[in-house]
Symmetry: C2
Subunit: 478 residues, 2 copies
């Protein structure tokens, strides 16, 4: 059977993904090393994802603010692990003017900065500097701030949405009076992320703590949500860090406690990015293109009138009217009255993953019925439904689809989690080409033999099992 | 009479403005040359401004997208006027890695870029490059794109919100098949901006076309909305440009016309930024702090219970209940039950410009009344009102305030626009210390004498009079 995308997922997952981005018109490589341009359809998905996440962030009592793009090198340098983690991928601003020299536009030597700046790879340092000024006493705590911004980490092996030099994200930075409160809040945001991923993106997660080897640069604890892609690889899609007093000590974030004593605060940071879009796409999509859960679909419904010359005007108008009725229910609806052929319209919107397709032919207009098809189930779900019935049940149909997509992904994940009793068993499984997450005693991974396997199979420790942290999940990853 | 801000506007407008930013907790200078940190209260205002502008942009059929932060120097270089206009303030990225050399963290020489990038000062070039790929035929036109992003123009004389090295803005980029359509659309977006400024920000504008001397770098026509601040200075707050074929020719944006011939398209660009916040603040605020129009106030209403020890719990609960009732009407309400003294709470929210203040004392709780005060009118508007009356009329009270603020600003502006018949008369008026906009024949300004006045008094041509473009408005400006 011909599919919209070749190669298919099973033939070559990586190429399938590249083509998915193209056929769904989501993004393209930019003429800037490692960067992408997010096209309108892709950006519309992100706006929905962002707005829903923003609501949940604000519901946690967090306030949005906006900090500078550039960070003085000196700031960056103050926390040793942090600088070690990010220095190798920092874009550096060294001049503030261009000059035409011998016919070539280049940095004006006279505009060289004494202290260069880096473009933020993350903002713990510059926000820590501000918090040190803003926090005086226990009355100022907790302080919870977030910003939606672009960041930059120079990428040598970019991959659209998953790993790009510039990306858009939210980064939250909270401050507390005690370690206990900070750690509890890091876990709270971690759980908020899971709830968001499962119930908004319909993407199930394996959650747990990162092993010491895999922690964020400058964290005491890193909590992660790991997603399992259809090819069995892991995608780290949202992390929350208990930063202890690393940054409060480096930046002097101190407060007068209730006991009248000056002490260092405890900070956290937590972030999710456009990378989640990659996880969304690679979890649900199929060989015909994108499959979007209704919660983040720019159009939840597309209406396609199957016109003939003699009824085109009437049928288009009838379809527009149905579109208005559905919009009045609060749904995002596109009525495609463009001059493309109906089958081309269908394929266009299948490829773009619109959850529910409604087709209306001349006979249906007369009988007050339509034909509906769910994108995730395809042809098998195609059925005729009366207009009144549709209006009454359409929201339920979409909610059901949202739930079904999460359950389908959960079901698939079950078959991709494997217990292994030894490093030998892990080696054998990998050699046999088994894909997915391998659950193994963490103790068994702290040796040279395991390090070798990591190199050979490009696997890594994804996270400890939250139910039994003596076990760790190991997988290939994006 | 003591005011919350010293000096007052009449004593020293510039210092008053700096202090306004502080007392209203809007922003602060960042530890990055020319940049600011927008604090949560300031950012909440921007989010409201942005969301309302975004709605209006989308209603014009514009789609949001996201283009890279960095621009290859070569791109930037392709349009001569454009590069001349922006090269002198471009932040340049020259390296992509830091290295510890002799104990000092610095750009790793081995990571030097062959072709440096600049941080976008605006995105005509990189978007033009994408559009050249995305546009093939007349069927693809018009194409209307917008992005909400940060840009950077290195500032030597920064001023918070008005002129900062990094700022947040929306930049729209539209493409058309004919010059007529492009120019008409540039004017359409220009009018959209005026409507937004007047009816959302309550800031009246003088609108018109920029003179050739003042056009955007690379434009055929620049349309501007100029605002008059309380000190009589102009603030350019939103511009829309007819770019002719400058960028379509530099970037090869071509399309097959209905006649089957390949031709260059016609482009526009249009932008508004966080600078509008400065205009909002300097138009309405007074010597006691910020005055916000209800449409963009993070809290439209603050409720302050005037408690005594014996009734604090009951009165706070009663106030919270009233707050919930008002929120149910769709209003943004803060009930201040913090442990500050009531007069301190009042001053706090006066300084932050909350449109309507509701005070409730013990007696009022018993009689079902409250005391309301409009921020723009102050004490004179203070009155008692029954709860039922309040619930029924509160939305009308806020709408009236929105309208009154626009009218008050319009009335003030009337006294700040002066007709002058000659350059001598202009000189005399400026020497006498007259403030505001001076309307003069444009022909009279194209000579050395006028150039000298520009230098002496720091005035500039703001825009042609849209009703009679042989006249130009001249003013000092931010």
């Amino acid at each position: 059977m011909k599919t919209a995308i070749t190669p298919t997922r099973s033939e070559n997952f990586s190429e399938w993904y590249q083509n998915l981005i193209v056929v769904a018109d989501l993004a393209e490589n930019a003429p800037v090393r490692g960067c992408m341009t997010i096209k309108p359809y892709g950006w519309a998905i992100w706006e929905l994802m962002r707005d829903e996440m923003d609501k949940r962030i604000k519901a946690c009592g967090v306030l949005n603010a906006n900090f500078p793009l550039l960070i003085p090198i000196d700031f960056f340098n103050r926390e040793a692990e942090h600088v070690a983690g990010f220095a190798k991928e920092a874009a550096v601003v060294t001049h503030y003017r261009l000059k035409n020299i011998d016919g070539v536009l280049q940095p004006d030597p006279e505009s060289k900065l004494t202290e260069p700046y880096i473009i933020r790879p993350t903002s713990e340092t510059i926000i820590g500097d501000a918090m040190a000024r803003w926090i005086q006493s226990y009355r100022d705590l907790p302080m919870k701030l977030n910003q939606w911004v672009n960041v930059m980490r120079w990428e040598m092996r970019p991959r659209m949405f998953l790993r790009t030099s510039e990306f858009n994200w939210q980064e939250g930075h909270n401050v507390f009076a005690t370690h206990e409160a900070a750690n509890a809040d890091a876990i709270k945001m971690h759980l908020m992320y899971r709830d968001y991923m499962e119930h908004v993106l319909a993407v199930p997660v394996i959650m747990g703590e990162k092993t010491p080897e895999e922690r964020f640069a400058g964290a005491d604890h890193t909590y992660t949500n790991e997603q399992i892609m259809q090819d069995g690889k892991a995608l780290q899609a949202g992390t929350s860090h208990d930063l202890g007093q690393h940054f409060s000590k480096s930046f002097g974030i101190q407060f007068l406690g209730t006991d009248g004593k000056l002490q260092h605060a405890w900070t956290t940071s937590w972030g999710t990015s456009t990378r989640m879009m990659g996880g969304l796409f690679m979890t649900h999509s199929d060989d015909d293109g994108l499959v979007l859960p209704p919660a983040v679909a720019p159009y939840q419904i597309v209406i396609i009138p199957i016109t003939r010359d003699e009824n085109a005007d009437a049928l288009n108008a009838y379809s527009e009217k149905l579109g208005d009725d559905l919009r009045a229910l609060g749904l995002r609806v596109l009525v495609d009255v463009s001059d493309m052929r109906a089958p081309d319209k269908m394929w266009k919107w299948i490829k773009r993953g619109v959850p529910l397709r409604i087709e209306i032919g001349g006979r249906e207009m007369e009988t007050g019925t339509v034909t509906i098809t769910r994108r995730d189930l395809g042809k098998e779900s195609k059925r005729s439904i009366g207009n009144a019935d549709l209006m009454q049940n359409v929201q339920q149909i979409l909610s059901q689809m949202q739930v079904d997509m999460l359950n389908a992904a959960r079901e698939r994940n079950k078959g991709m989690i494997h217990n292994v009793e030894s490093v030998d068993a892990l080696d054998a499984a990998l050699q046999a080409g088994q894909i997915g997450f391998f659950r193994i005693k963490y103790d068994l991974t702290t040796n040279d033999r395991f390090e070798m396997l990591m190199d050979t199979y490009k696997i890594s420790r994804r996270c400890l099992d939250e139910e039994d942290p003596t076990y760790v999940f190991v997988a290939k990853s994006y």
